[in-house]
Amino acid sequence: MKKKQDFDPFAPANRVNRVEVSPFLFSRVVSKIESRREEKSHREVMGWKGAMTGRRAQGVSTSRQFTWIFTALLVVFLEVIVIRGALQGPRSGEVAGAEWMGVFLNQTEQLYDHEN
């Protein structure tokens, strides 16, 4: 019977042979690198950054575009206010205030009625 000190628990390691790596593996690594590179460039073309880069290449300034869009939206907003005001007709501030207070008083009265 083997004594405890004779037993070498690392001995089985000597029975494991070294294995040669497949010669086709490197071509798989290269194709993975290429597919990642393609994916990256595709993402750049399709993404926001890519779109902006494309526009810059066409000579379109992005900051100038944003300024125009912002100005157009501001003009539309102001026109809506003006048109609404014109439709409601001329009103004095006093009338508008009284109307608002009226609504407020009515609501308070309703609340008072409801509680009693």
């Binding site: 690392f10 089985p12 390691a13 029975r15 042979n17 593996l25 490197f26 798989r28 690198i33």
Partner: protein
Amino acid sequence: MQSLEEIYRQHAHRVYNIALNHLRNVEDAEEVVQDVFLTVHEKGIQFEGKSSLGTWIYRIAVNRSLDKLKLRGAQKRGWGVLQYFDVFTQWVPQQNTEFNHPGVALEYKEELKQWFGWIDRLPEKQRTALILVRMEGLDISEASQILGTTEKAVESLLGRARKNLIKFSQKSEGK
């Protein structure tokens, strides 16, 4: 500066064997080799040169192999349940856990399967130290650089691994 192909020719063999001895599965080990050299290609510029290129590459190989083992463990613990539901199985990355080590001769297969089973029960660092020093034939100083520790610590890891393996073998004999 070396090309990727040159680096691959120099180090792929050892990377593959490190992965194979950790995972005991050809497909998984090949995946690790691919991952390692993709990382070398992508992060090669970031390599600081504090350690040798080989040490850096083998450290990546060890880390990737351990990650794969952890994924296997997680799959065994949690995802096994999901396999009862067909819907989920397509979302779960399947890990091949079959013992498939081409470096093991048929006559030793059963014995070594049991031995690797004990190795799997060792703590991570003990297992890696054993694989690097006893199976890969690296010297203690190289292994200590890969493990990011001192030479004395590697010797101590090997000593503890030896004791643990003796304990496991005695337990299996006592059954």
